[in-house]
């Protein structure tokens, strides 16, 4: 639905040039909710604004719904933009228009008749749950309500794509949740492709299927949300994830020395991550039954990525070195993520 090829964006300003995007390649499929996460200044807004050409890339090709936007003139581009909805962090509603008139605005631009506009607006008001607010002005609405108006306005011309630039960043957690629910609903109902920019991993975890991590104008990592969460590669990604899922080792590990190789008399410390159905499998107990080892759980956490359960366990295994290695091989055959944290001397901890 959307492809970006080798996008570069250079801003010329009074205090020098800023290379905001450095060769970005992305492809978003129809019906996906695609998240782009990065810290402030990473180039997220620039990237999303290149998709509807609010910002024209210095280099590269933008294609939306089979149409190459980078080759269009102003007039043609305006027509294409009507098929791309956008919502903003600060809502950007017209303060001089009522809720109804704000939603009618894009329909007026599309030269629709009064009757069509009326029908469409009333329907949209219902969709976003604001029918009773139609004659109010934006100044009389809460942040969440304003964003609902923004969403209704963005959907008015039945776009193929919805771009969200930090759409929930100005909202409290509760309101954020309800707006994300609404976006998810719309995505399902209309098979609408959504590109969502955020600096909050929670938002990605809540609704995205795919995620790309942007840093310094480059995509440093991308993939399915579940994969990125369970196997983050870059430090930036790990940091984002640790903001909601604790991926760091618990504090008491600071006090013990970990060896990377086993010695005759050491315990094995593992981090196991379980995804989806594997959380229901009694892996630990069957391991203990099969091999002559003991296991103690040092840390445990269970979380959900949308509807998929996702658990983390840090376990310490003790026993004969040979049994430990057998147990490790056995775990590797199961459907779970394994990370060997290291080996500790048996007497270093009061177990086993």
């Amino acid at each position: 639905m959307i492809t970006l090829q080798d996008i570069e964006k250079v801003y010329q300003s009074d205090n020098g040039t800023i290379h905001a995007l450095r060769g970005v390649n992305l492809s978003v499929k129809q019906g996906e909710i695609f998240g782009i996460i990065g810290t402030s200044g990473a180039g997220k807004s620039t990237l999303v604004r290149c998709i509807n050409m609010l910002e024209s890339p210095t280099k590269g090709i933008v294609t939306v719904d089979g149409q190459e936007l980078t080759s269009l003139n102003e007039q043609e581009l305006r027509e294409q933009r009507k098929k791309i909805g956008m919502i903003f962090q600060h809502f950007n509603l017209l303060s001089s228009r009522t809720v109804y008139q704000n939603i009618a605005f894009p329909l007026e631009l599309a030269k629709r008749s009064k009757e069509e506009i009326d029908k469409e607006v009333l329907h949209l008001l219902e969709l976003v749950g604001l029918s009773d607010k139609k004659d109010q002005y934006p100044a009389q609405l809460s942040g969440g309500q304003k964003q609902r108006v923004g969403i209704a306005r963005a959907l008015a011309n039945h776009p193929k794509v919805l771009l969200c630039d930090e759409a929930t960043s100005a909202l409290d957690p509760q309101t954020t949740k309800s707006i994300l629910e609404l976006l998810k609903d719309i995505n399902r109902k209309f098979q609408l492709t959504i590109v969502l920019i955020t600096h909050e991993m929670q938002v990605i975890k809540e609704i995205c299927n795919q995620v790309a991590v942007i840093e310094g104008g480059k995509i440093i990592e991308q993939g399915k949300v579940i994969d990125i969460f369970t196997q983050p590669q870059s430090n930036t990604t790990k940091e984002f994830i640790s903001s909601i899922i604790n991926h760091n080792l618990p504090d008491f590990f600071k006090e013990i020395t970990l060896a990377s190789e086993p010695s005759a008399d050491s315990n094995l410390i593992l981090r196991l991550s379980f995804i989806g159905h594997s959380t229901e499998e009694p892996v630990i107990s069957s391991m203990i039954r099969r091999f002559a080892i003991d296991a103690s759980i040092l840390y445990g956490n269970i979380d959900h990525i949308q509807t998929i359960p996702f658990g983390t366990l840090i376990v310490e295994l003790s026993g004969e070195q040979a049994s430990l290695q057998q147990a490790l091989s056995y775990l590797k055959t199961r459907e779970l993520g394994i990370e060997v944290i290291g080996y500790v001397a048996r007497n270093a901890r009061a177990i086993g």
């Binding site: 509807n52 609010l54 305006r78 027509e79 294409q80 933009r81 009507k82 791309i84 956008m86 903003f88 600060h90 950007n92 509603l93 017209l94 303060s95 001089s96 228009r97 605005f105 894009p106 007026e108 631009l109 599309a110 002005y137 934006p138 100044a139 306005r153 011309n157 771009l163």
Partner: protein, 217 residues
């Protein structure tokens, strides 16, 4: 006060109102578009055009920094060309309008600059053309501020019209000078001052009221 004086007063009041009304109308007609051009041709705005912006800005500043009394005399040839004479109410309308156009332009410019650029971008993202952005976003969003600016313009024009009157334009200023000052008629002086103050008050309150009604923020 004699019947004759009352007629004179009524005539002067009408002349002032006429001068102010016509020059307000002309200056709004030309000053508003000029203000819109000044904003939209700015760097990074919807019709960016640096040379045009700079030239218009310079003209506006030059006109605004010329004292009205000098402007009025300096453009006498233009006034003659336009209305055939340099004396009288119609003649006074020319310098009044020329002085007020850049004033309105700057006021409209600052009103439009107050419109959050995010709203303009939202309109662009919906496929609005520059013309649609001007008529459907910039003007409606800044209308309360524009109304206040025009109110200020009218009030300034009431003051300037008294000055224009002093050099043959007619109106209340002319009356105050000829009778109140030159013939020592303190009553005439007092009454013209009271009328001028009343006019300003009425214009200001009306302007405030309309602006408030329009403001939905």
């Amino acid at each position: 006060m004699s019947q004759e004086m009352l007629v004179l007063l009524a005539k002067s009041l009408w002349e002032t109102t006429y001068m102010v009304a016509v020059s307000s109308f002309i200056s709004a007609l030309l000053g508003i578009p000029l203000g819109i051009i000044l904003v939209t041709t700015n760097k990074g705005h919807i019709l960016e055009n640096a040379p045009l912006n700079r030239i218009l800005g310079a003209i506006v500043n030059a006109t605004r920094s010329t004292p009205f009394i000098i402007l009025m005399v300096a453009i006498i040839p233009v006034t003659r060309l336009l209305v055939g004479t340099s004396i009288g109410t119609n003649a006074a309308i020319v310098p009044l309008s020329i002085a007020a156009i850049p004033f309105v332009a700057r006021i409209v410019e600052s009103a439009l600059k107050e419109v959050d650029y995010g709203v303009i971008e939202a309109a662009q993202a919906m496929g609005a053309s520059p013309r649609e952005i001007i008529t459907k976003v910039l003007i409606p969003e800044s209308l309360p501020a524009i109304v206040l600016g025009l109110t200020l313009t009218i009030i300034s024009l009431i003051g300037y019209s008294a000055m224009a009157g002093a050099i043959g334009g007619g109106g209340l200023g002319d009356l105050a000078i000829r009778y109140g000052y030159q013939r020592f008629r303190a009553d005439i002086m007092l009454i013209t001052v009271v009328i001028l103050i009343a006019q300003v008050q009425i214009v200001q309150s009306t302007g405030d009221y309309i602006s408030n009604r329009l403001n939905k923020k």
